[in-house]
């Protein structure tokens, strides 16, 4: 360390510290000196000055030493330091005794004492004055108390102080305010002025202050409280106002302290000062407390009212009150009976048990309930009210840790509905505030509970009404009884949340209940019928709804075994117009399910149900009426339209069925012992069959009812012994349970019974009976109309049938066949079984035809025409109808059919034209039968037809034979025979006509001649009778007919038909034509040369013209050549005649064909310069044996023909060849040729080939003549030709035996 540093550390610093200390103290003492200047002391001043001096020196020295090294350098720094520290000691001591500084600066203890006394008195006065001022500003008692505590603390240094108020009337002192201790606790302290040992109590009684130095030893002090406060010494001062102790002030000290009399006096003064303020403040406090209470109550009330749910209300109430009044528990019991009303809401302070199952043992609330007042108990252990053992004792409360209780009844309109109870764990005084709160809240709860109950009731009522409304809607939405009743049970189950429901309908007449609908109970109960007992009986007899609890056990018997499972049942009557019509019930499996409200609801619902059921019944009734109306309409419809009896009866059945709402209906007619089914509606086939066979068993009841015109009803067939067992069984098998029968009279008095069958047992109302009667009346008209119609129709049918049969019979030419037809048709006509036709033969009746049962083997059986029913009819010539032949036994003897099963018959005579009897027709029936007049008439008509047939059939037979003969003749006649009727239609077309026309008879018959032959055969009006020739087409060929015509006239002179007879004259006609043509041709051929001869002769003879010689020569030449031509023609004609007559004379010689042909060619060439004529002959020549002239004629003809038929010119060759025995000559041309069809005919007389045309000259005799001549000469001729290619005529002649000349062929060409 440097020197300098050492100097500073050891010298300067201590010096400055010294300076600071002394100067600081001086400075600090300065105000004290100034304050105590009245009691100025020199010592004090001197010491102060010394201190300043020391401080100043030290400061200066320090500063010098710092700035001047020399200063004090002589002294060791340690010395300086030591000196400085030494000088520091007095100052430090002064600071140490700082609190006693005033002793130092003042005048000392005596002065102090005097001063103290003076100041104490002054303090007291000041204190009182200050308190007074403070109190005057204090707003409340508690504030006043606090001001007092402030003053006590500041003046007397008291830290623990308490005030307890004294209520002399109540005889208690209660903690009010405190400081220095737990004020909350203090406020709970209550001291009995009579009994408690306490300084407070003592002071309250004595009205004098009490000072206790050591509380532990003081008998007057409450040790418990003292301990709690922690006091060693204490003082108690009464607060007096108007001479009364209103409160007691207690102050305590933890340390031993003896409160001096002056202090006590001061406290008393201050207490007195405070008492007054406290009195005023207490009044204000009371007011405020009341206001606060009201506030609390109104707040709780507000919150309570703000809740709608009752449980929420109760919870709010207990919670709010519990917290507001600092309780351990608050709860509400609800129920009119206080003893066992359950706890509905509870609030507990943290850590406190709930009541739990101790609810039944709450004596205080029970007491409050019993006495209908608020019970306030400060401490249950000492409360005499709880001594009553019936309340249940205190134990339960003790167990719950409760000491103090308030219980107040909750009233609604003077009726206790519950208890509101408040608990505290400690015994405590319940302030009026507490009680007021409890009571006020209880009232609020009452109102809330009442409101909530009302709301709940309203809600339920609304629910019920809504449910009822819905149920009502549902019930009225359907109009059918069965649906309504089913819905009824469905809805009531929903409405009452029941497990099951049922609906029973009451049959008052039978006193039976019938189950109509169930829900929740097995369906098998529907339809059951029971005698009302128990609950049902009660409900039916009283007409009131009944709730039956503990049903399974107490109801005996239950309606059915299925009801044993139910614990509760409610039944309500269904009434209408004061009459119980049924019972509606609901069932529950649990006990306590239904209450009175439910019962009311069920009752209401049952009323609704009554309405709905009534509506349904009305609807059903209306519907039934509508059905009835429809039935009437149906009948009216039937009446309006003419229907057959069968249809009318069916319609009647339907109408009855519809009108009465039955399942099926049928119409029966008594027939002998049986009932015959005549009409039906919806009747099953089995039943129809059964009835068709006749009703089984005894039907007398039905028959009698019908006959006596009575309505017969059977509501329950099963039990109705008016009907035979078998009938009942039959109907029951078909599912019918009841029936009603109404009589209906037919037009002819037939008694029908309309029987309507029902599938259910049925009570027939007056309406039903009226309906049945109405039906009876209404149906009669319809039936009369139908019978009339039926009669007409029958007549029509008969006549139609008869006409048909007549038509049929008319076609029967054989009488036996006609009779067979008659006996077949007769039973059909009369709807009977058999028919027999007997003919009179030798005064006997002989069976000639029979048909039907019982007629086997009776054919040809003879019987007398005088016996039996048939004999009577024959003798009387009048019909005989027998309804029941058994009544006349002899009929049976005479008639095999009546003897064997047939019961009734009708026999009609067959009268032939002119009044004669031909036989008897009899119809039989196996049943008794009343033959109607129209039936007898119809049969008579049939018999007449049969007679006519009998007559005409014989006639027919003869005619037929005649016709057959005629037909045979016609068929074999050579002429075609065609007959047409008056309409022109062909009725006869014989075989020859077929051949000639080529049209088969089948095609021609029935058609018109003009259509068949494409032209008419008739001559037409005004034509001359006789044969005519006309042509028709057969295929593509023209056929010429020679027709003669005969007109057939009927009786009236009108044309009834025509007969044409014709022959095919085509071939004759051809010949005729050829002849005619021949004549014309020959005429032409003769006239042409004659014209020239005659003409030139006349010309030459003309005197007026002079002809030259060449002219004359020419003219004469023509006369000569034409004459020759004429001679040739005449020769030909003569030759033909000779050929035909066989008178041809021949001169046979050997002729050289070649030479002769040459002549012919030369001759022909004169006229035919356009043709090339050629000869082709063998060199040896061909020699034949022939007549020279005739052969020349043949050759010339052939060459002429060749020229004639080669109009375009061309080559014509003549060739000859020698054969073994004959010679063959061919003349070939290149002309038009000959059609194949004509190749044979060209050799016939007069034939001129087609296409030759009239322009081609020639007699047509050339080839005929050539052939004839060649044949005559032992030769033959034929032609080889193709149409268009020319022809070659070839002939053969016997060759000459000698003179066969073999020469080369010589061709001659011209």
């Amino acid at each position: 360390m440097s020197h300098h540093s050492r100097v500073i550390l050891l010298e300067v610093v201590p010096l400055f510290v010294l300076a600071a200390l002394y100067l600081g103290v001086s400075l600090a003492l300065a105000p004290e000196l100034l304050r105590r200047r009245e009691r100025f002391s020199w010592l004090g001043l001197g010491m102060w000055l010394v201190f300043i001096l020391i401080g100043t020196i030290a400061a200066l020295a320090g500063g010098e030493r710092l700035s001047n090294d020399e200063f004090l350098s002589t002294l060791s720094p340690w010395v300086v330091s030591a000196l400085a520290l030494l000088a520091l000691v007095p100052g430090a001591i002064f600071v140490w005794r700082w609190k006693e500084r005033h002793l130092l600066v003042s005048a000392g203890p005596r002065v102090d004492k005097a001063e103290r006394e003076a100041s104490e008195s002054r303090r007291d006065a000041e204190s009182i004055s200050r308190l007074s001022t403070a109190l005057s500003r204090a707003g409340s008692g508690r504030e006043a108390a606090n001001r007092l505590f402030d003053e006590l603390e500041s003046v007397l240094e008291v830290t623990k102080a308490m005030i307890a108020t004294v209520d002399e009337e109540a005889g208690v002192a209660a903690g009010y305010a405190a400081r220095g201790i737990d004020e909350t606790w203090w406020r709970t302290v209550v001291l009995d002025l009579e009994t408690a040992r306490s300084g407070v109590v003592a002071v309250a009684r004595e009205r004098t202050p009490l000072v206790v130095f050591d509380v532990k030893t003081s008998p007057q002090v409450n040790q418990e409280l003292a301990t709690r406060v922690g006091a060693h010494s204490a003082a108690f001062v009464p607060l007096l106002a108007d001479g009364r102790v209103t409160a007691v002030l207690a102050v305590a000290s933890e340390k031993p302290r003896l409160f001096t009399p002056s202090e006590t006096e001061l406290m008393q003064d201050l207490a007195n000062e405070t008492a007054l303020a406290l009195g005023h403040a207490s009044s204000r406090d009371a007011l405020e407390e009341a206001l606060e209470r009201e506030r609390v109550i109104s707040e709780i009330g507000r919150r309570v009212r703000s809740e709608l749910d009752l449980d929420a209300v109760l919870n709010v109430a207990v919670t709010e009150v519990g917290m507001a009044l600092d309780l351990s528990r608050a709860f509400i019991r609800l129920g009119d009976s206080g003893d066992d009303a359950p706890v509905r809401a509870e609030w507990v302070a943290p850590g406190v048990e709930t009541i739990g199952n101790a609810a039944g043992r709450l004596p205080v609330s029970t007491l409050a309930s019993r006495e209908r007042r608020t019970v306030v108990i400060r401490d249950i252990l000492v409360a005499p009210d709880l001594d009553d053992p019936s309340l249940g004792g205190r134990d339960s409360l003790v167990e719950l840790g409760t000491r103090a209780v308030i219980a107040t009844p909750i009233l609604v309109f003077d009726r206790i509905i519950g208890i509101f109870a408040l608990h505290r764990a400690e015994a405590s005084v319940w302030s009026p505030h507490d009680v007021s709160v409890a009571e006020a809240v209880a009232r609020e709860i009452g109102i809330a509970v009442h409101t909530a109950q009302l709301l709940q009731q309203n809600e339920r009522r609304l629910q019920e009404q809504a449910a009822l409304l819905k149920a009502g809607q549902v019930l009225t939405s359907d109009l059918r009884f069965s649906s309504v009743i089913q819905r009824l049970v469905t809805e009531v189950v929903q409405l009452l949340r029941a497990d099951a429901a049922d609906c029973w309908v009451y049959d008052e007449r039978r006193t039976m209940l019938r189950c109509e609908a169930v829900l929740g109970v097995p369906e098998r109960n529907v339809g059951r019928e029971i005698v009302p007992e128990g609950t049902f009986e009660h409900v039916l007899s009283t007409g009131r709804a009944l709730l039956k609890r503990d049903f399974a056990r107490t109801e005996s018997p239950t309606p059915t075994e299925d009801y044993r499972v139910f614990a509760e049942v409610m039944d309500a009557p269904i009434t209408w117009l004061g009459e119980v019509r049924g019972v509606l019930g609901v069932c529950a499996r649990e006990h306590g399910h239904f209450d009175e409200k439910d019962l009311e609801l069920l009752d209401t619902f049952a009323r609704l149900a009554s309405l709905a059921l009534h509506n349904a019944e009305s609807f059903g009734e209306r519907e039934r009426q509508a059905q009835v109306q429809r039935g009437f309409y149906r009948i009216a419809e039937v009446l309006g339209s003419t229907l057959s009896l069968g249809e009318t009866l069916d319609a009647l059945a339907q109408a009855a069925c519809d009108a009465l709402g039955g399942s099926s209906a049928l119409v029966l007619e008594p027939s002998g012992e049986r009932l015959r089914l005549t009409g039906a509606h919806e009747l099953r086939a089995e039943l129809r069959e059964a009835f068709a066979q006749g009703l089984p068993g005894d039907v007398s009841s039905l028959r009698t009812a019908a006959e006596e015109n009575r309505i017969l009803s059977s509501p329950s067939l099963e039990r109705d012994d008016r009907f035979e067992e078998s009938l009942r069984e039959l109907l029951a098998d078909q599912g019918y349970r009841s029936l009603i029968s109404a009589p209906v009279l037919g037009a002819e008095g037939q008694k029908h019974a309309v029987l309507v069958l029902f599938r259910e047992e049925r009570k027939f109302s007056d309406d039903d009976l009226a309906l049945a009667r109405h039906l009876t009346g209404a149906a009669r008209g319809a039936l009369e109309r139908a019978e009339l119609f039926e009669g007409e129709r029958r007549a029509h049918t008969f006549s139609q049938r008869l006409a048909d049969i007549g038509g049929l019979l008319a076609t029967k030419l054989d009488p036996a066949a006609a009779f067979e037809e008659v006996v077949r048709e007769a039973p059909v006509l009369l709807d009977a079984d058999s028919a027999v036709l007997r003919l009179i033969e030798n005064d006997d009746l002989v069976v000639r035809a029979a048909w039907g049962p019982g007629t086997q083997g009776i054919r040809n059986m003879r019987s007398s025409s005088a016996g039996g029913a048939v004999g009577i009819a024959a003798q009387s010539r009048a019909p005989l109808a027998v309804s029941d032949a058994r009544e006349t036994p002899r009929f049976g003897h005479e008639d095999p059919l009546l003897a064997n099963g047939m019961v009734s018959c009708v026999a009609v005579p067959m009268v032939i034209h002119g009044g004669g009897l031909s036989g008897v027709l009899t119809v039989y029936d196996s049943e008794v039968r009343t033959w109607r007049e129209d039936e007898v008439q119809a049969l008579s008509a049939l018999a007449a037809t049969a007679s006519a047939v009998f007559s005409s059939a014989e006639l027919y037979q003869r005619v037929a034979e005649e016709k057959e003969r005629s037909e045979a003749i016609l068929a074999n006649i050579a002429d075609g025979i065609v007959a047409v009727d008056r309409d022109g239609d062909i009725v006869l077309w014989n075989a020859t006509a077929e051949q000639i026309s080529g049209v088969p008879a089948a095609e021609a018959l029935g058609r018109r001649v003009s259509k068949v032959l494409q032209r008419d055969l008739a001559a037409g009006e005004g034509a001359t009778p006789g044969e005519r020739t006309l042509s028709i087409q057969r295929g593509d060929k023209e056929v010429w007919l020679s027709v003669s015509e005969a007109v057939m006239l009927d009786a009236a002179g009108a044309v009834a038909g025509r007969v044409f007879a014709f022959r095919d004259v085509s071939s004759e006609r051809v010949v005729e034509q050829m002849k005619s043509d021949f004549v014309a041709t020959v005429s032409h051929e003769l006239r042409t040369p004659l014209t020239s001869i005659y003409g030139f002769a006349e010309t030459l003879m003309r005197g007026d013209v002079e002809f030259s010689d060449p002219e004359r020569k020419t003219f004469l030449g023509y006369i000569a050549s034409e004459s020759e031509r004429l001679i040739n023609i005449v020769d030909d004609l003569l030759s033909v005649a000779r050929v035909e007559t066989g008178t041809l004379r021949l001169t046979i010689e050997e002729i050289d064909v070649g030479a002769l042909a040459g002549e012919v060619v030369a001759r022909a060439q004169e006229h035919a310069d356009r043709w090339e004529l050629e000869l082709d002959l063998p060199a040896a020549g061909v020699v034949v044996e022939a007549d020279r002239e005739k052969l020349f004629q043949v050759l010339l003809n052939l060459v002429d023909n060749a020229v004639k038929f080669s109009p375009d010119g061309g080559r014509i060759s003549i060739s000859a060849r020698r054969r073994a025995e004959s010679a063959e000559v061919r003349i070939a041309d290149e002309g038009i040729g000959i059609p194949r069809a004509d190749q044979q005919r060209i050799f016939s007389k007069f034939f001129r080939a087609e296409g030759t045309g009239p322009g081609v000259e020639g007699t047509g005799l050339g080839l005929f003549l050539a052939r004839g001549l060649l044949l005559a000469m032992g030769g033959r001729i034929w032609v080889e030709s193709k149409e268009g290619r020319g022809s070659t005529f070839v002939f053969e002649l016997p060759a000459a035996a000698s003179g066969v000349v073999e020469e080369a062929p010589e061709k001659v060409t011209a």
Partner: protein, 146 residues
């Protein structure tokens, strides 16, 4: 006035006969030996009258008459049939076919010119139809009598 007469006939002697006798009376004569040739000549020469044979090879007289009458050029030329067909029905047919007269062979050729001249005159006088009616009437008389 000289007439021009067309003779249609296949027989040369008869054509010659007609020519000689008609020319002798001052008429000029045209000839044709078949129908087609006759029609051609008639169209070209427009004769005053035509003597027409019926039975000719090829086209017969009936057809020729029909052709001539259908042709505007020859329609008005009077046709006189000259034929060996003497039957009344043939006569009727001839008149029906439009002929104004009907001469049957054999005939007196000396009278031919007068006959032709008469017909031509009548036609030229516009009495064609009257002539036909007259001939038809004659024919009916003839038919009635046979």
């Amino acid at each position: 006035m000289a007439l021009t007469v067309l003779v249609i006939d296949d027989e040369a002697p008869i054509r010659l006969l007609c020519r000689v006798n008609l020319e002798a009376e001052g008429a000029s004569v045209l000839e044709a030996d078949n129908g087609l040739a006759g029609i051609e000549v008639a169209r070209q020469e427009r004769p005053d009258a035509i003597l027409l044979d019926v039975m000719m090879p090829g086209m017969d007289g009936w057809t020729v008459a029909q052709e001539l009458l259908e042709d505007e050029a020859t329609r008005r030329i009077p046709i006189i049939f000259l034929t060996a067909r003497a039957d009344v029905r043939d006569r009727a047919r001839g008149l029906g076919a439009g002929g104004l007269d009907y001469i049957t062979k054999p005939f007196n050729p000396v009278e031919l010119a007068d006959l032709v001249g008469g017909v031509v005159d009548a036609v030229q006088r516009g009495e064609r139809e009257e002539l036909r009616a007259e001939k038809l009437s004659e024919l009916r008389d003839l038919l009635g009598t046979t």
